[in-house]
Subunit: 472 residues, 2 copies
């Protein structure tokens, strides 16, 4: 099943590496380029790097390339959200009422290295690190590259020797700041719709180091959240027993914000006041806070994803905010969907590109919206009675009727057989219906759980179809 076409993939992050691996396995001639250095050559930092939530849709991508076993050793299961209040009390809210449904904390570097290591075992791929793409000819499928020096350019012998790669097709997997997408924005005579939306919040990564005894500073098997209304802190476990902690905070407004946390004293005051228990776990806080960058939170959308012989994939076409833990999972699912499109197009690459773009776009839009919605839910996470009662009811449904009920979270996270758009539509309908039924006391105590489930399912189905239930 050798495919003759030469595919140039620009960007060797998670999506580009998985895509390269799949196309290589299918027999294409693949060139994978990356402007950064090979992340495997800086392995010391790997264990401490940013971690991500890997769940079913992402695992589906890894299964496609035969890495589902290998990845297990990198995964730390997280069974629910551990919510921490101001008084230092914590409470676990499980992700699912079914056994065996959990998400995984995984090191971005470790996972990327796994993909690259596997990729290098194939003869029909070339990987080029530290080469920046400077221009793409979208119609001709050729791209210009300039080697970058790890050291200052004047001391490097690599700098300066620009070259061109001529391929049959180009796929841009170069992330939210995609150079390939920018080329589409500037292309003449091509109606390219695109948007870039930033939140008024940014984020900063911090650390809970391992304890002196060499253990985790907090419960390992959970995603920790300190919801504080407008702002929040979260923490995910790492293999080296540390946690990567992320602060989500507004750039301006309120008592504390990124623009006014400018001295060690104010940072200390802020954490002591708002996150007193977490503060005790961060001995390096006052150093890290000023060493680590404050990064923006953006959503990227565009349409179409393809022009000429070039396609965008992953964050390059649909970067989302991290509040549903689906960014990487969506990108990995892109690869699965593109693989399907190739099969459906009988491996006519251009047809597959067009099929994929049209078919996948509504799902990318749906998860982008949901991720934005969830920011509010995560950071407020109040003890709202209706919300808590809904969550309890859904966990009971999932536990007692595991095949008949999936909450919105389960539909999105654990039902990798459903497209995002369908999962989200159904999940939102259920949310509205249950909350309204609880408010109006329609789910009477004398009803059995099964009766409640049947009523919720019946009305949710109607709500999903109509979008608006309106009975006077």
């Amino acid at each position: 099943m050798t495919k003759k076409e030469h595919i140039l993939i620009i960007g060797a992050g998670l999506c580009g590496s998985l895509l390269a691996l799949r196309l290589t396995q299918l027999g294409y001639q693949v060139t994978l380029t990356e402007k950064r250095a090979d992340l495997r050559k800086a392995k010391l930092a790997a264990g401490r790097s940013i971690n991500l939530a890997l769940s079913n849709r992402g695992l589906k991508g890894l299964k496609l390339v035969g890495l589902e076993k290998e990845v297990e050793s990198l995964c730390i299961p997280m069974y629910g959200r551990m919510l921490h209040n101001l008084e230092g009390e914590s409470q676990l809210s499980k992700y699912s009422g079914r056994d065996g449904e959990y998400i995984n904390s995984i090191s971005r570097t470790g996972l990327n290295a796994l993909l690259l290591d596997k990729l290098e075992t194939y003869p029909n791929v070339e990987i080029k690190f530290e080469d920046t793409c400077t221009h793409v000819n979208l119609k001709q499928a050729s791209a210009s590259f300039k080697p970058v020096a790890s050291n200052p350019p004047e001391s490097s012998s690599r700098a300066g020797s620009e070259y061109i790669i001529q391929a049959d097709y180009i796929i841009g997997t170069d992330g939210a700041g995609s150079m390939v997408r920018k080329q589409m924005e500037h292309e003449q005579g091509f109606l390219f719709s695109h948007s870039q939306d930033f939140l008024t919040h940014g984020y900063k990564e911090l650390t809970f180091p391992a304890t002196k005894n060499g253990g985790y500073a907090s419960e390992k098997g959970a995603l920790h959240i300190w919801p504080r209304g407008e702002n929040m802190l979260i923490a995910l476990p790492n293999m080296d027993k540390s946690f990567t902690v992320t602060l989500f905070l507004a750039y301006e407004g309120g008592k504390y914000n990124f623009n006014n946390l400018t001295s060690k004293a104010i940072v200390e005051e802020y954490f002591k006041e708002v996150y007193p228990d977490a503060y005790k776990l961060m001995p390096q806080l006052k150093t890290e806070f000023f060493e680590n960058p404050t990064a923006p939170l953006g959503t990227i959308r565009c349409s179409p994803w393809t022009y000429g012989k070039t396609l965008l994939m992953g964050d390059a076409s649909h970067a989302i905010v991290p509040f549903y833990g689906q960014g990487m999972n969506a990108s990995f699912e892109d690869v699965v969907e593109f693989d399907k499109a190739l099969v459906e197009s009988d491996f006519e690459f251009e047809n597959a590109i067009n099929l994929f773009s049209k078919h996948r776009k509504p799902d990318a839009d749906a998860i982008a919206d949901l991720a934005l919605d969830n920011f509010h839910e995560m950071k407020s996470h109040t003890a709202d009675e209706v919300f808590l009662a809904k969550r309890k009811l859904e966990l009971d449904f999932e536990n007692q009727f595991p095949k008949d009920y999936h909450s919105k979270y389960s539909l999105v996270t654990f039902r990798e057989d459903l497209p995002y758009s369908k999962a989200i539509r159904q999940g939102r309908a259920q949310d509205l219906v249950i909350q309204e039924m609880l408010r109006k006391n329609i789910l009477k105590p004398e009803m059995s759980l099964e009766e409640k489930l049947n009523l919720v399912r019946e009305v949710s189905k109607k709500a999903e179809e109509n979008e608006l239930i309106f009975d006077l």
Copy 2:
């Protein structure tokens, strides 16, 4: 009330000209630049140029600068939509059940010339035509300009002499393709959210010339629509007894589209088949169709509208599609709102800029969404019973209870005292409620019109507050 600040306004279209006039009247030192030639020096073409719908929000802007009387002689009142079906039958659907509520067809060039003529009567303004802005320093309020030659550059003595204008503040009113906005997109270290969305339809302008007897080829006092499902034709009257006709058609798909209407024979076939009555009124069709450009339909959004000492206004910050006839009206209302912001800020210009941007953005977003929604309604405009019954009921309400009821169209178009966001929220709630009541037969024949009105108002108010009415 002399204001010392020097305000540079880039773009002398409708919004820029009105803004310049208002700021000049307030005593600011104003420089207004425009890359195109002075449109008053090509007056021959004026009567035939694109026309626009001017309604109450736009008139409010003209009143602010004292031109409400002068503009009357340029206006042709349109009292409703004249719908034309395939059989050549037509039917007027009035815009309002109240007397004296209508919109106006007006020549873009004529209106712009009126503003520029008035502007030139003031000593504290300088207008510079045919100078293209090449760069803006957003923080320093300085901009570089390059004179453009009307003739090919090599033959012009003006070309080449680049110069800089140093102002206190810059306002970019340079339209949907705004160069000032692009400068914001490229500004480093500034989180600028922005989007550009194209419809899959484009448009092309055509003409019904005056009849041989020197009269209008169709009813003068209406906006004509030939709704044909996916595509449509509209026509607005001009002072010279012609109509400017606009075809809205998809670029691809369907039997006919812009990409396949490539020969005179196919264009003739299309119009004869789909717009047979209009076809008879277009003797120049086969020439015009190929001479006139096909233009895209886009929506531009961004946030914030201001950075450093620079502000965006009008289409530069919120270009919308033309399907609610509100593009120019929204831009003129910007000037009214900015004037209010200046007063509220006690003429502290920087404060006014910030106040205006924050305050006005939700209204610009609301009208952008509504204009998109209305495309579907306009081109489908079927004989849907519920839709027609709703329209009839609303006209009756407006006619019998003129102070107590305003349809969505009236709220948006004739209630210039309400912000767009409020008008649209209320209008949408009413639409949903009336349609649902008609479908469910809640408005019984035995009810008086007043009883129906009271029920609609009561439930609409609830719907507006909750967004979702959900009674099980």
